[in-house]
Subunit: 246 residues, 2 copies
DNA sequence: GAGTGGTCTAGACCACATT
DNA sequence: ATGTGGTCTAGACCACTCC
């Protein structure tokens, strides 16, 4: 019963040392090599044995504390949290989520065009009201089931959108390929009844509850690059979060 | 137009230096002294001028990056993000949320008793199925409007619950006063139709959409201390999140 | 008192973006 | 070439918990 997994470091790798350590601890936790509730060795010993400085070792542990996998307590030690470790909400699109889950997502582009921004969109994207923006509407399926109806708006000039790319790769992957990196996003999660149009698209009845999410995403430079309104079928989708006291 | 706010350090204070710096930057950002999009001075200069080491200065900036208020870009600099800075989902109860928002929350205890844990509760709290746990049901109001119906379950022996405390202070404050600190929580947000009982309590119609949240909270020691199922009226409540690419 | 995590220093070298 | 953030070292002292 080890207070640590077997850890190998590659000092010639471009991957930061703290990240290599964190990765191997994470794997050991997820695989059960270190069980929930187990205490891991103290920072000083770990650093010494791995030939690292203590700040570097601390940084490795901190990344897992931030993920909610480890809990530190001063004067006591560091241990693996109890309970299932679920994936938390991350800065990815639903498309990524589903792909990673091994399911088969499919996207149908309902339209892709330029149109004048409504008041809310203009404010979120920091453009003038009525200014032209990309307007994208998509319907996402898992298998044959419609899962989500997604309306997204992007400033013109930032990127050239292509229907084929979007069907195949999802919006965020398309942005990444254009060199746009999302760094911060703000989301609001709520719920409401489906409109007739939404119900038709999603194969629900009019007035059925839908889980809704509004998101504004910002790039490297702090500029808004995307605003979206999404509606999910609540039987098929929910949001998982891990919150950590800092 | 400063690349930094006026910062004063108190080295005799028990408050960490990096936190003092972060606090004053945050205030400058929220008050508009540093505008969205403004670049702040580089880490090295800031550290030198404040008489801090660079790692300490970095730690200060990092806490604001984690909050989604600053964006760092290698080779370029650090700037304030655009857009409104909303409060993100934090490790607090709804009661805290409402109090801070200056509204007047009121809580009605529907029941507080010991009862056998159902399957899901037992699993989340890591007790045997059918074992006795605290069972707490509350109805929360803002003004005269019912806002949320909350069912919570806690292991027995951890804390003695008192109805008066709960009405007045909320569950999390009561736990804090008992020396229990929540460190990690896992939440699942979804939505569904109200049952007849829920609709009656919340002043909605049967079948109305409700925003739901399940949460399991863990303490210092990684032990589950609380499992709850909450239902919110979607016209009155939503979840705001800020996601940051790490 | 012993052991643990929390904070802090004063540097160093590297990777990346811009000019 | 210059300036920026990203990583890392080898220590130091303190605060807290537990025995």
């Amino acid at each position: 019963m080890p207070g640590r997994p077997a850890i190998t470091l590659d000092r010639s790798s471009p991957i930061p040392l703290y990240f290599q350590v964190a990765e191997q601890f994470e794997e050991a936790i997820l695989s059960g090599t270190i069980a929930p509730g187990d205490r891991i060795d103290n920072e000083v010993d770990l650093a010494r044995d791995l030939g690292l400085s203590r700040p570097t070792m601390r940084q490795a542990i901190q990344t897992l504390v931030d993920k909610g996998m480890l809990v530190r307590k001063r004067g006591v030690g560091t241990q693996v949290v109890h309970g299932k470790v679920r994936r938390s909400v991350e800065l990815t699109s639903l498309y990524d989520d589903l792909t990673r889950a091994g399911q088969e997502p499919r996207t149908e582009i309902l339209h892709l065009r330029r149109s004048p921004a409504d008041e809310e969109t203009a404010q979120e994207l920091q453009v003038a009201e009525g200014a032209e923006v990309w307007s994208l509407e998509r319907l996402r399926f898992v298998g044959d089931e419609p899962l989500a109806l997604m309306c997204n708006y992007l400033p013109i000039g930032l990127v050239d959108l292509d229907g084929a790319d979007l069907e195949h790769d999802g919006l965020y992957a398309t942005l990444r390929r254009s060199g746009i990196l999302i760094r911060v996003a703000r989301q609001r999660i709520g719920c409401r009844r489906a409109t007739t149009a939404e119900a038709t698209r999603l194969g629900e009845r009019r007035g059925s509850p839908l889980l809704t999410m509004q998101r504004t995403a910002y790039d490297d430079a702090g500029q808004a690059v995307e605003f979206g309104r999404h509606a999910y079928r609540p039987e098929l989708y929910s949001f998982d979060l891990t919150l950590v006291e800092r």
